[in-house]
Amino acid sequence: LSTARPSVNPLQTVPFGTGLTLHRTTLRNGLKLLMLPDATAPVLSFHLWYGVGSRHAKAGKTGISHLFEHLMFNETRKLPAGELDRLIEARGGSTNASTWVDWTHYHTDLPAGELDFIARIEAERMHHLVLNDAALTSEKDVVMNERRFRVDDDIEGTVGEKLYSLAFTRHPYRIPTIGHMRDIKGFTRKDCEQFYKTYYAPNNATMIIAGDLKPKQALACIEKHFGKLKPARIPAPRKVVEPAQRAERTAELRWPTPTAKIVLGYKSPAFPDEAYGVLTVLNEALFGGRGSRMWRRLVHKTGLCADVQASPSPFADVGLYEMSFSLRQGAKVREVLRVVDEELRDIQRTPMSEAELSKVKNRLELGFLLGLESAYGKAEQAGFFEVVAGDATGLFTRLETYRTVTAKELQSCARTLLNKSTRTRVTVLPKGGRP
């Protein structure tokens, strides 16, 4: 008779939308497991989120979460360098990862029937990654190239970095996820080993598996590979309160480009907040497609802009509602700002019509459904809500917010959030040009 305590808690089930069931449990070592069985296609999408991102970086060590994400594809105790990719690709799979402010996300798509394989690999690299100087040097070079690609030679990346460093004075959201070049260059093996020991543990991870799987068998498989991994002492998250912004902050950049650009960032609600859902609806009215207010006014009617885009940052804490405007050659920055402010004042003063509100809600519902078509989409969305908002099924609560929000609530949201005093503005001017 075995008297050992089972290392897994019982599975709980909750409805996930109308046709699916979410099965969830937590292993005794703290690993959260969510499963979404869906046999519409013979595929599996396996996602592992770690609760560490660029907000956790210490001074002088910016970019370590992202560099480490790269290193996780190298050598493990049982897998020589490069073997992980070779094994996944030989099975017809594809794998990738991403890092942002609050998390690091690894995902692998494989044909159905490969759960045992990928669980073994992920458990291996969660606990037995091998770090060596040669791989670190090469990966640092790759990341420095990525930084040149995404930031140093890219106007959007450069502006984004400037915007966040200006908008946040204390909160670590001011740190670029990819890190500063000098910090990337300076990372040592010791830095990486320490980071790994600190953050890569089952009790700092959330696993989501969607696709052609049987929950009980899948649970047994995960328990087999992860059940014996030891939890770590994860540092309590630093609570940093960003001081209230009381005046507009501005910066100007010169760039080799034929056209000017303006990027605005208003302080926006944290993603888990219901107000974030309301802002998403407001954003859809202002910037959602060619029928939106800003597109019609700035691109279609006045021809001042070539493109307008916006979105609120989906962060665990207060972030930025980012708006970007690509000006036509010859258009004046102050003229575009005047029109933008006019449109924002209008949405603050006049409630949206029912027809416009209904249109916006329909657009959001469509986007929501499109995101749930594939196994990857389901796992990615459920995982994101679980990690950032604390509940995978919050996805459907958010949809309900979209459906039920009123014109009055949107007006109130616009009045509360769209104030110049909480705005940060970065303007890009062509080198040699005038505003």
């Binding site: 017809g92 594809s94 798509d109 030679d153 990819i178 080799p256 029928g291």
Partner: protein, 454 residues
């Protein structure tokens, strides 16, 4: 958000042969109607694809078909452009009208409850476009603005110049969206003429994926698409492109670049060539996977570039084979030398047995992801018609992959990828790189163009 790798592999695959939900019907007008039934989500995907595209733009009017596609969205005599956008949004739909080298296509998705209204709108836009002069002026303005924006995107700049260099005067080498000069030259009568040339039910295939029965789809198509013009399709032969000899280089000169964008390539295969699939397998082993030779040598072993990949293009005529990297400005020439050596060695020797087996295994086993949603399955079937692929191309693809051996993969590389006939485009600050590029072996020309001449 930053990610480990951004390169995507485009490749053909196979449609399902069992439990298939595929239907093929013909509308009352004789238009092929492809259906993929799926109840997974309450969305209906619709595609109307006319099998002629930008290769039929007149010389000097490049971008005409793309402008036509934009004008089709600008409404009818009864509907203004803003009414069209309002109707699309109100239905919970997305609508896209665009043109490529070999097609002009309308594609969209709508929540199931509004499918009838969506089909009706598409039918109205295609059969009774208004073609107002002020709308054309607006669309030309927007197109010129997007060409200006292109100057900020080094990767797209590289792709545009690479296609022009590698394809030369062939229609595939002309920019799909046109140039600032050619877009300005387009007049309303050109739009009307191009409409008559491209929009005909005799050149159309319709595809629908979603929770609708074949009967219902046929009924909707007959009701809303039966008034499309039925003119005889245009017949213009598109010749096979040929790659001139030598290593021809164009440097797109942009100030203050710390990083370069590099594209190197030549003409590849036609889908009807016997060595087409062997070349796809050989390319997969060379640069189509993260574990492939090019990526391992350039990125993993040396850290020279964040991305390194190669791909085989497929269209009605022979398309391009190309490889892409983006090394730092200081590493660019070393990276290019390495790429040329890797390519020469690979063409001379072909893949190793291990590389070949890995590539084949990937292509065979990953097919599940080519068909995991109804609209992807539909894409494959339409792709076969639009790109004039051999009948059963996707159905037979996996068997053809299985049949590839080292000898056939090597032969395909050796025959199609001529290392003495390569085009190379580098987006960089010219003064920093041109002397070293001129010193590369086999260089026949190095030209410099300003980045903002679009």
């Amino acid at each position: 958000m930053t990610a480990r790798v951004s390169a995507k592999l485009a490749k053909p695959s196979k449609k399902p042969t069992k439990s298939s939900s595929a239907m093929e019907l013909v509308t009352a007008d004789g238009v092929p109607l492809l259906i993929e039934r799926s109840d997974a989500v309450p969305l209906v995907h619709v595609q109307l694809t006319f099998s002629r595209g930008t290769v039929h733009d007149p010389v000097g009017k490049e971008g005409l078909s793309r402008l036509l596609s934009k004008m089709l969205r600008m409404g009818t005599k009864q509907l203004r452009a803003s009414d069209v956008e309002d109707r699309v949004d109100s239905m919970g739909a997305q609508l896209s009208i665009g043109a490529g080298a070999s097609y002009l296509g309308v594609s969209g998705v709508v929540v199931e409850r509004n499918v009838e209204e969506f089909f009706q709108l598409i039918g109205e836009l295609l059969t009774a476009p208004a073609f107002r002069p002020k709308d054309l002026a607006q669309q030309k303005r927007e197109t010129l603005a997007s060409l200006e924006q292109l100057c900020d995107d080094d990767r797209s700049l590289c792709g545009r110049h690479f296609r022009a260099l590698a394809m030369g005067k062939h229609p595939y080498g002309r920019p799909i969206g046109g140039s600032s000069k050619s877009v300005r030259a387009v007049q309303l009568k050109d739009i009307e003429a191009q409409y008559r040339k491209l929009i005909t039910a005799k050149d159309l295939v319709i595809g629908v994926a979603g929770p609708l029965s074949g009967e219902r789809v046929a009924e909707l198509c007959d009701k809303h698409f039966s008034r499309l013009p039925r003119r005889a399709p245009v017949v213009e032969h598109v010749a096979e492109p040929e790659a001139p000899k030598g290593l021809r280089i164009v440097v797109v000169d942009k100030p203050e670049r710390t990083q370069t964008q590099v594209a190197i390539g030549t003409t590849g295969t036609h889908s009807r060539d016997r060595d087409h699939v062997p070349l796809i397998v050989a390319n997969t082993a060379f640069g189509g996977l993260f574990s492939a030779r090019l990526t391992q040598e350039v990125r993993v072993r040396r850290g020279l570039s964040y991305g390194a990949s190669s791909s085989v293009g497929v269209d009605r005529a022979r398309e391009l084979w190309s490889m892409w990297t983006f090394p730092s400005a200081t590493d660019a020439v070393g990276c290019i030398e390495l790429q040329l050596k890797l390519l020469a060695d690979y063409v001379a020797e072909g893949p190793s047995e291990r590389e070949l087996q890995r590539a084949k295994s990937y292509l065979i086993k990953s097919h599940a992801f080519e068909i995991d949603t109804a609209d992807k399955r539909l894409d494959q079937r339409i792709d076969e018609i639009v790109h004039d692929l051999p009948k059963g191309y996707h159905d037979n693809f996996l068997d053809q992959v299985r049949a590839v051996d080292r000898a056939s993969a090597h032969a395909a590389m050796a025959k199609r990828i001529r290392v003495d006939a390569l085009a190379m485009v580098v987006v960089a600050t010219a003064k920093d790189i041109v002397p070293a590029l001129k010193a590369l072996p086999g260089v026949s020309s190095v030209d410099v163009v300003p980045f903002d001449r679009i």
